[in-house]
Symmetry: C2
Subunit: 703 residues, 2 copies
């Protein structure tokens, strides 16, 4: 369904009805009116309350039918039991969008959940879009619209600006809004989505992507309730050049438990969400401070093309602390060209002119030194961002004006660069830098991280190239055994080790002689997926006796551990040379559909969680980026004197697996290729496990 | 040498002479006097300047000899050339300590370095201890002593309190002081050590460890110039129960380069410094913000014995964000006991009572709910720290008094617990909580990290148990080959694989038959230490032919790659079963002497830098803690269905290696046991490389 026009009515109404309007400015039905009057809302406020003629000085209407016009939006502040008739009346009166403060729906349990479903069905029938229920509401600073009862407004109204905030949590969204205000940052809109019966945080992001007043989007979410809409919204923001900063909580066990009780919805796998949202350009964060730091640094709209940092400092120590932080996060700090260094040495013999550029405490008395060093860094260093560590000097009333006059011409001459100060001092002194387009941070490391985040925005990840998966794959009726799994995958171009399925010990010896010693023996059964766990695998068999003995042992192991298993014989495979063991898999994520995972074998995955994740399908070039993005990638590229592995073959295999998953459809629960042996020439799956969903029960069979 | 009495004179003088005193309050010789007059310095200020009778209203003396008393300290603000005669005069007049603002010494190059050495020799001769040269100076807030020319005082004097700051960088130290002041935090002293010709940051820490006015010590350092003194100072602070927060910069390549140019001293290996200082109880940090956060949280002196966090929140979302952060840093958030949860449910049916305890937006209007939930968390949850997420509500003038009255009785009733608010609002409103002993943070994640740091202080690391290394070891005259190295180590109880050194191929076959197939062959030469690099190792040889062929190949490899090498034959070793490959080593750190390193083999060390480091010697119990502290430790404990390795044997070996290093003395440059094979029963060095220093040139031979 298309949203824009109803969303515009919801977020920027020309007329808003307040159902359950109150004269008491501390009540839910009174707060929004009071805030709008205080802020000078540019539209019409239409209070509705059968018991009053006037509310807060405004004409009040006895019921919705009596309204003098069809409002663009309504605020509903009546008890849950009265909500259905209210929505029905709004529909009748031609109102298309309502913000539903009322609680007592899905967040209270099964009964409330049913009430919410019934209400949504009614709202759809009468053509009213809903924000909420159980929402703290919305505000739109530019037009003075306050469809919210948040008490955060008690300590002041927000400052108008370009940061948009979307939040599933009302209080946390309002906290972000208050944090921005207290830091002097300007906001465009705040939209909190409550129970998300209808309109979701994705819809809010989508709207902000198209809103001219919003330049940076901050989103807080606990659950992904509509993955395709979320990814669409992220794509729209990326296309509009607007960064989306996402704080996705519910990572921890405790956090996920709290999230479930809080939003009445399951939190998806955090690693997958990070990867998939990141794939669509979202900047994934963990704390509100870094969100505000980055939003602030990005809100000026400056997007330097060169990701490098030049540091000017009056303290050698601070220059080192900043250099350490830049290296930790991978932000390049190239040295100034030699000629420019020599020029600075002439100006100030004891300076350190490389980068950091230490213009020493002399600059404390002579802002022209600061000007000279900063100009040189901009002109000769060409840095995308400049960070000047000026500490308390910048905040000194005696110095601040001279510093501002020294830097202002440079700010104007290089509009495409970020210029930031690390400064301490009275807020009113520091605000003047800010107003001149110079970013101000009190902490040098936070400044470094925020600048880096903005520098990275110049090259957001390109949309994933999606190969056509081709015709649907005919999956077998039941879970295939290893040999059948490998055969199915090999039709898709996914190679496994040379091997044969055989029925008995004699067959195993014949197969071994055909393949060449040494060989590997594995039990072959659709009922035993994880063979190593029950000792039904034997490696490095050098002769017929060893093959016969191994055959007997694995039969015994299977009979002991899984007595009812159907045994299809054994698999004899050539023992492969030493290589790098990798892991590849796909599984169906409940939110995002099939996602592929790549990692190095064993510990890297299990202890370090060092994996790359992406939605399927994707091409080999994308697969290669995934493979090279893991921390352990150096192992594949020839670390420790080993030859590099065949990255082309490995990338092709991962891409083919992703296409397989897309073509296989929802009956495919998962594929595990573990290990995949990456060799200097080729890559081979040593094992393959395909799991299918039970009929009609997607995901029931996931392990 | 003993410091206390001179240090007391330097830091808390009863009388201070200002050499080069000025009437101009913006000059180096004028600023300290102005600041002391402004702050009401409790001692006597004695200006010295031949050109004036009165300076800033004080009697001025023409020269040092004319001073009416022997000052406890002098501030020297004269050009470098006049410094020697000034120091001589001070000694003559009985002044024992001087703070030397003058620049132009070691920081300027070789000539200045020599001038600094000459000056130090003179100072020692005349009995004057020196702070500096090139120092920004010192302040002692409680007595109003400002022996500093820092312009950070232009925006206000520090607040008196219990945080002490020691810094090698003047401007960065003053930045920390200004940051504390702007955050409303109280300081005891600031000591900046400049070039550290004499008094170092270690001396400053040592003094603060004994200073009654200092409760938390913050130290910024770029280089460790006197390792034993630093470790002594850390031990003294630990014994006094005072946490030492250390920001040690110069980790990055750029940072180390800048540090070298800044302090005229080499920065030691950051990993070693982190480990060794941490071993002595220092809390190692990377940024000033977390230093101030932790200093603030620790400065009240509350040290809960139970490391657990209870979270009270008015926003489910914030509760989740905090839970995520707590899990990320390993801070336990156990659930409230069931009975207590049930009681809270009776009070507020829709609350989430586990932990986080969500008392919902209802608490916004009813602070008694906040009281009930917080009391329950303290009483029934027993949490060491409580974090209440109150956001803008706590800062609301209408609510703040009621909130304070609700919490104050609990603050008094539980003096041994940390109570913190995450709160936004006007500073004057928030300061009232602070004054009541409630910590205030604007960011919930920073609050969580700071509380965790203080909770960890209850159990600082115990001093390392140091076994007696026994008599010195007679090292060979020249670098030993592998067989000799292993023999030397085996006398110390460090086991290696069963093996024999042989002269030729026939000998190799005889040795293989004695040891049992399969075997390993390695070249044996004192000139080839890293055998694998030149393919002079062959593994898994199953029969005499394979042994003969391998013998020929490795002779050829050695002849090709190191034609001049002395070849002592080959080493035949039993091929060991599969186990976990580890790495152990010791090397002589230029600052801290022999340090031992343990890690898992290969990638864990090379890619992830996942190692434990400690100064030698230490006992097996300590070794075990080191081994279990690495991230990959699970691999040793039986991850992936493997049997656990013999941790006792591994720990014993690491401890013995540390004792060996201590007993071997400074001629030992390093020992590398790589790999060490950890088996379920036993641990064996598969290779051993001992490197010795060249005669009289310690460290010259380090690789």
């Amino acid at each position: 369904m298309t949203l824009p026009s109803t969303m515009a009515g919801l977020i920027a109404p020309r007329a808003v009805a307040v159902i359950g309007a109150s004269d008491d400015v501390t009540r839910i039905g009174g707060r929004p009116i009071a805030a709008m009057l205080r802020a000078g809302f540019k539209g019409r406020i239409l209070p509705v309350n059968p018991k009053r003629d006037i509310v807060q000085g405004l004409t009040c209407y006895p019921d919705i039918d009596a309204l003098p016009e069809a409002p663009d939006a309504a605020l509903i502040a009546v008890p849950a039991a009265l909500v259905p008739e209210t929505i029905e009346a709004l529909g009748r009166r031609g109102c298309k969008a309502a913000t539903l403060f009322s609680a007592g729906f899905a967040e209270t349990g099964d009964e409330g959940d049913q009430a919410q479903r019934d209400m949504l069905a009614l709202a759809r029938r009468v053509g009213v879009r809903l924000l909420g229920p159980n929402t703290l509401g919305i505000y739109n600073v530019g037009i003075g619209y306050y469809g919210t009862f948040s008490s955060s407004l008690d300590t002041g109204l927000p400052i108008a600006g370009s940061i948009g905030i979307a939040s599933q949590s009302g209080a946390f969204g309002a906290h972000l809004g208050a944090l921005a205000r207290d830091r002097g940052l300007g906001c465009s809109v705040l939209i909190t989505t409550g129970n998300e019966a209808d309109i979701t945080v994705s819809d809010a992001i989508r709207w902000m992507a198209e809103d001219d007043g919003t330049r940076v989007i901050c989103a807080y979410m606990e659950a992904v309730n509509d993955a395709p809409a979320l990814l669409d919204a992220l794509d729209a923001a990326r296309a509009a050049g607007k960064p989306v900063l996402v704080l996705k909580s519910g990572r921890s066990e405790v956090g996920a438990r709290a999230a479930a009780s809080h939003t009445a919805s399951l939190t998806g796998d955090a690693v997958v969400a990070d990867a998939v949202l990141g794939e669509h350009g979202a900047i994934m964060l963990r704390d509100p401070q870094s969100m505000m730091d980055i939003a602030y640094a990005a809100s000026g709209g400056v997007r330097p093309s060169r990701r490098s940092l030049g540091v000017i400092t009056v303290s050698g120590g601070a220059g080192i602390v900043i250099s350490d932080e830049a290296e930790r996060i991978g932000l390049p700090m190239p040295a100034l060209p030699d000629a420019a260094q020599a020029r600075l040495k002439q100006v100030l013999p004891y300076c350190a002119p490389a980068n950091p550029l230490d213009c020493t405490a002399q600059a404390l008395n002579d802002p022209s030194l600061l000007e000279t060093f900063t100009r040189t860094a901009l002109e000769d260093g060409g840095y995308g961002a400049i960070l000047c560590f000026l500490t308390y000097v910048a905040g000194s009333p005696a110095m601040s004006d001279r510093i501002l006059q020294a830097i202002l011409p440079l700010r104007r001459a290089y509009p495409d660069r970020l210029i930031a100060f690390c400064a301490l001092g009275p807020p009113e002194v520091l605000r003047r830098y800010d107003q001149a387009g110079i970013l101000v941070f009190d902490d040098p490391c936070r400044a470094t991280r925020a600048l880096d985040a903005v520098l990275r925005m110049a090259e957001p990840p390109a949309p994933t190239s999606r190969p056509d998966p081709g015709p649907a794959i005919a999956l077998p009726a039941t879970t295939p055994d290893e040999a059948a799994s490998k055969a199915l995958l090999s039709e898709f171009g996914i190679a496994s080790t040379p091997e044969r399925a055989v029925a008995d010990a004699d067959g195993a010896v014949r197969a071994a002689e055909h393949l060449g010693y040494p060989v590997v023996l594995k039990i072959l059964s659709p009922d035993i997926l994880h063979k190593s766990d029950i000792s039904a695998v034997r490696l490095n068999l050098h002769d017929p006796d060893a093959v016969r003995q191994a055959h007997a042992e694995i039969q015994q192991a299977a009979a002991t551990h899984v007595p009812d298993a159907r045994i299809n014989g054994v698999l004899v495979a050539r023992q492969m040379p030493q290589g790098v063991e990798c892991l590849m898999g796909v599984h169906r994520d409940p939110n995002f559909g099939p996602v592929a995972v790549f990692g190095l074998g064993g510990i890297f995955v299990e202890l370090l969680n060092d994996v790359a994740v992406r939605t399927c399908p994707f091409d080999a070039q994308t697969a290669r980026q995934m493979i090279l993005s893991i921390r352990g990638a150096a192992i594949l590229q020839g670390a420790r004197g080993q030859p590099p592995v065949d990255l082309d073959a490995l990338s092709r295999m991962l891409s083919r697996l992703s296409v397989f998953a897309a073509a296989a459809g929802p009956r495919l629960a998962s594929v595990d290729l573990n290990p995949v042996l990456a060799l200097p020439d080729g890559a081979f799956a040593l094992d393959a496990v395909i799991e299918l969903t039970q009929d009609g029960e997607p995901d029931a069979d996931r392990s």
